[in-house]
Symmetry: C2
Subunit: 118 residues, 2 copies
């Protein structure tokens, strides 16, 4: 098993509450990252799939954000109650969770309608 079959990056960036771009980890607890880790461990796939802390993934308007590589599937507005769905459907079942995906038209886009005005 030379590489991770899937590598999940969970944004744990914390910003002040008043920042207009929001914060993926508002209370600094890293809870989402911990939930991904424990969900993988529970299913016995920790050796082949890694849940990794990441700094700002720069899709803040859609946070909390998560990206899964190598397939580059992006998720937004991920909450604690979504973790098991992502693990079961996507990581184990290879079917991305469509309801959580960030639209391609929003990714890295200056014209994303969710971005706050400058």
């Amino acid at each position: 098993m030379p590489k991770f079959e899937k590598h999940i990056f969970i944004c744990t960036n914390q910003r002040p509450q008043e920042n207009p771009r929001g914060s993926c980890n508002p209370n600094g607890s890293g809870e989402l990252h911990q939930l991904f880790k424990s969900s993988l461990a529970k299913r016995g796939v920790k050796a082949t799939v890694r849940a990794n802390k990441a700094g700002c993934l720069d899709q803040c308007e859609h946070g909390p954000t998560v990206v899964v590589y190598p397939e580059a599937v992006w998720y937004g507005r991920v909450s604690a109650s979504d973790v098991d769905d992502i693990i079961e459907q996507h990581i184990i079942g290879s079917q991305p969770v469509e309801r959580l995906r960030i639209a391609d038209s929003c990714l890295n886009s200056e014209s994303c309608p969710h971005k706050p005005p400058r």
Copy 2:
């Protein structure tokens, strides 16, 4: 440009000096991440390539470690003087820098000869 063409994750994990697994960011400065960022900015590719802070990537024996997705190319023992080579040869030129790659036989391997004895 819906997704990053390349997404570079630089381990910024800091451990105490005496930890046998070592530390990818021993003085906590995050210098390597900053160098990747500025090297991308200098070449005008910041919009399509992201240099991202990452928590522990779990290849600590080869640190400082960096992984480039979506191609899942892993680099080890990356120093400040290697950053421009990775950007020029791999990110711009699409040729991974072979001298820095972590061997597949070492990645996620319990039998990696570089791991300290338990």
